[in-house]
C-alpha cells in the first residue's frame, strides 16, 4: 500500500526511479501517469486544491485495494498534492507495476478514473480577477462505467 497525500512538490523522476527499483520478481511493465497544472483558458495564476484529511487517505487506499483485486499487480503508488500550485507544477501521479503491460495500463487508468470522481479533492482556479471552483465533468463520471 502506497498512498501519499502532501502539500509539497514531488519529483516525478525520483518517484518513478524509486518505484521501478522496488519491483521484484517478474514485474516487467511499469506505467506512470502524471497530472500537471495547465492554463487551459489563459490567465491562470494558481490552482488551489482542497481536500478532506482522513477521508482522502481512506478513499485512495480503497481505490488502490480495488485495483489489486482486479488486476495482477506488483506495487501501486498514488501520490496527490493539496494546497496552492503554479501552472506547470505537478499535481499528482500514479504508478503501477505488473507482469503484463495490459494490466499495468488498465490499473493505472482505473486508478485515475476513480480518484478523479471518488477521492475528496476540489480544485479552485485563481486568475487575476476571479477564483472559481472547477466543475466536475460529466465525462469523468461517465468514465467509471467502463469498470
Amino acid at each position: 500500500m502506497a498512498v501519499r497525500v502532501q502539500s509539497q512538490p514531488f519529483d516525478l523522476g525520483a518517484e518513478a526511479n524509486a518505484f521501478a527499483a522496488a519491483q521484484k520478481g517478474d514485474m516487467g511493465a511499469i506505467v506512470t501517469f502524471t497530472g500537471v497544472v495547465r492554463d487551459v483558458a489563459g490567465g491562470l495564476q494558481a490552482m488551489e486544491i482542497e481536500h478532506y484529511p482522513g477521508m482522502t487517505e481512506r478513499a485512495l487506499a480503497q481505490i488502490e485495494a480495488q485495483a489489486h483485486e482486479r488486476w495482477a499487480l506488483g506495487d501501486v503508488l498514488i501520490l496527490h498534492r493539496y494546497g496552492r500550485m503554479q501552472p506547470d507544477e505537478m499535481i499528482m501521479m500514479v504508478a503501477t507495476a505488473a507482469r503484463h503491460r495490459r494490466d499495468a495500463f488498465e490499473a493505472a487508468e482505473f486508478l485515475m478514473d476513480y480518484l478523479k470522481s471518488r477521492a475528496p479533492f476540489w480544485k479552485k482556479e485563481h486568475t487575476s480577477d476571479s477564483a472559481d471552483w472547477v466543475a466536475a465533468r460529466d465525462e469523468d463520471e461517465d468514465a467509471l462505467t467502463r469498470w
Binding site: 486544491i49 482522513g54 499528482m92 479533492f121
Partner: protein
C-alpha cells in the same frame, strides 16, 4: 446526539465555516439537511440543490437517505474534481 458536520469547497464558503458540532435527533442525512436548511438563509442556499452535492458519513461516500445511527461525522461537498 452530537455530530461533527464538515463542509468543503463552495459549500464551506457559502456556509462560512469548515466544521461545526451539531446537536440533532435526525435519523437520516436528509433529515439533518432539513434541520440545517431551517437554520439560516446561508444554509438554505448551500443546500438548495442536493443534486449538486455529495455526502460522506464517517468518511465513506453515501446517499442522502442514509441512516445516521451511530454516525460521528457527516461531510457535505460538491462533486469531487481530483486528479
Amino acid at each position: 446526539m452530537t455530530i461533527d458536520v464538515l463542509y468543503f469547497a463552495w459549500v464551506r464558503e457559502r456556509i462560512g465555516l469548515p466544521r461545526e458540532a451539531v446537536e440533532t435527533q435526525a435519523e437520516t442525512v436528509a433529515q439533518l439537511v432539513d434541520e440545517l436548511r431551517a437554520r439560516e438563509e446561508r444554509y438554505a442556499l448551500a443546500f438548495a440543490d442536493l443534486s449538486a452535492l455529495r455526502v460522506a458519513v464517517d468518511q465513506d461516500l453515501t446517499e442522502f437517505d442514509a441512516p445516521l445511527a451511530g454516525a460521528r461525522e457527516v461531510a457535505f461537498f460538491p462533486p469531487m474534481t481530483g486528479g
